[in-house]
């Protein structure tokens, strides 16, 4: 099989890869934002609870999360599709990391901003929504791009729960015709094609954020 054919065969799995990535982002981004903000604002028992949730999803190895959700949930009467399990495990795991970035960004924001908002008589939620989050979100774009890349790479593990993504396809082809060099090289190239531009974009964003923020702290 020519290398181009191999690549084409692998890309048949792209739809599943893309879907899992998309659904994963739909879990990851809201989870990161909500838990990051909550962790920043809550105290005491509430904060402990939020931290526990975050740590559970963040500190467990993602492969383990995937297998636990896939194999163990049926034992508790919960039946989810492989796609849902894959998206949840990946999304919440990566969202857990994202929440730390959100929290760090909120913490690093100049306290004077919040004080100025309070001095003007703005409600705390208004301050969060209008002053803290806008400033934090633009600084966090590189992080979100990074999360996207991590997700795309993470989808490779759903091949282990029989979802027919690019990695699954590659293994099929490799088993069929015993040309591991060609197949796995093509697989690496396939992921490169998807992720490398995103990596470059993330680097471009990082540099832009740095330049933008250089001007604004002039005193």
């Amino acid at each position: 099989m020519e290398s181009f054919d191999i690549l084409a065969g692998i890309f048949e799995g792209f739809k599943v890869t893309a879907l899992v990535t998309l659904y994963g982002m739909m879990w990851a981004v809201p989870f990161a934002l909500i838990t990051g903000v909550l962790q920043h604002f809550t105290r005491g028992a509430a904060r402990v609870a939020v931290t526990c949730v975050i740590e559970f999803w963040r500190s467990s190895p993602v492969l383990i999360l995937l297998f636990v959700l896939y194999y163990a949930l049926p034992g508790f009467g919960i039946r989810l599709s492989g796609m849902t399990v894959g998206a949840m495990a990946l999304g919440l795991n990566i969202g857990g990391y994202g929440s730390q970035a959100v929290r760090a960004a909120l913490q690093s924001l100049d306290r004077g901003q919040v004080e100025a908002g309070r001095a003007l008589g703005l409600h705390r939620l208004h301050i969060l929504w209008l002053i803290e989050l806008p400033q934090v979100l633009s600084a966090m774009m590189p992080t979100f791009v990074n999360q996207f890349i991590q997700l795309v790479k993470g989808t490779a593990i759903v091949s282990l729960i029989t979802l027919t993504d690019m990695t699954f396809r590659a293994k099929q082809i490799a088993d069929a015709q015993y040309n591991p060099i060609g197949v796995y090289t093509s697989l690496m190239i396939a992921y490169l094609i998807v992720c490398y531009p995103a990596t470059l974009f993330g680097r471009y964003l990082e540099n832009r954020v740095r330049i933008e923020h250089r001007g604004s702290r002039e005193i």
Partner: protein, 248 residues
């Protein structure tokens, strides 16, 4: 002196504040009448900033009472954010919102806190940007302005809310010397319109020309207060004398 029927704008009695075991404010009593201009000065660490930040509860006090515009404020006051709309504050480091333009900085609180429509808020903002003499900067971002310009925007932003009392926390201390005058001129202007002002500053000329009363603090206490002429020519407390001899 104002007539006894007008309540004082700010009424502080027996104020105490601790940071752990360190007492930042000891037994502070201060009454500021409407339209009065009070300058608070003193060595660093004397509690001046802490005192005015207690007035709008950016810091909370541990004992004593504070009344602003006739209402009691302390850490348990519900909906403090609504009371803060009638108290304006200008910070040493300006604290402008970097992601908003100059105009947006001024209209934000009007739109969200006072629920004004955009057009009306912009009109008010333009009026005050004119007052502080930088109307042409309305579309710029804070990062594009000089320190003096930023502080003037900060003053305009606070004035837009039509506060009854303006608090200034060392407004010129973070500025390069050549920009201090433009900010002091704006503050003098604000004073001349009759605004009640409480100002923590080291700018003694400003105190001399604009203030009705100078309050000198040392180690958390008000040690001396008098009208500017008396304070600068014949300070009675030794600490005040020492302070003045060092800075004049």
């Amino acid at each position: 002196m104002t007539s006894s029927s007008t309540p004082p704008a700010v009424c502080i009695s027996g104020l105490q504040k601790w940071y752990g075991r360190y007492q930042a404010l000891c037994d502070v009593d201060l009454n500021v009448a409407a339209n009065e201009r009070v300058v608070i000065c003193g060595p660093s660490g004397s509690g001046k900033s802490t005192l005015i930040r207690c007035i709008n509860q950016l810091e909370t006090h541990d004992a004593g009472t504070i009344e602003v515009n006739g209402k009691r404020v302390d850490r348990s006051t519900p909906r403090m954010h609504m009371l803060r709309r009638d108290i304006g504050m200008v910070f040493q480091h300006f604290n402008l919102f970097p992601h908003l333009t100059v105009l947006e900085n001024c209209t934000l609180a009007l739109r969200k806190a006072r629920k004004m429509k955009l057009a009306q808020a912009q009109e008010i903002a333009e009026h005050y940007l004119n007052r502080v003499r930088i109307p042409e900067q309305r579309g710029k971002y804070p990062g594009q302005l000089s320190g003096g310009q930023q502080q003037r925007v900060a003053i305009a932003r606070a004035l837009c809310m039509s506060p009854k009392v303006m608090l200034f926390d060392e407004p010129t201390s973070a500025l390069d010397p050549e920009m201090i005058k433009e900010v002091l001129d704006v503050m003098t202007d604000v004073a001349s319109e009759g605004m009640t002002m409480i100002c923590v500053t080291h700018e003694m000329n400003f105190a001399r020309t604009v203030a009705n009363r100078v309050v000198f603090m040392d180690a958390g206490r008000i040690v001396e207060q008098s009208d500017p002429r008396t304070f600068f020519s014949r300070p009675s407390h030794p600490r005040a004398q020492q302070f003045l001899s060092q800075i004049l």
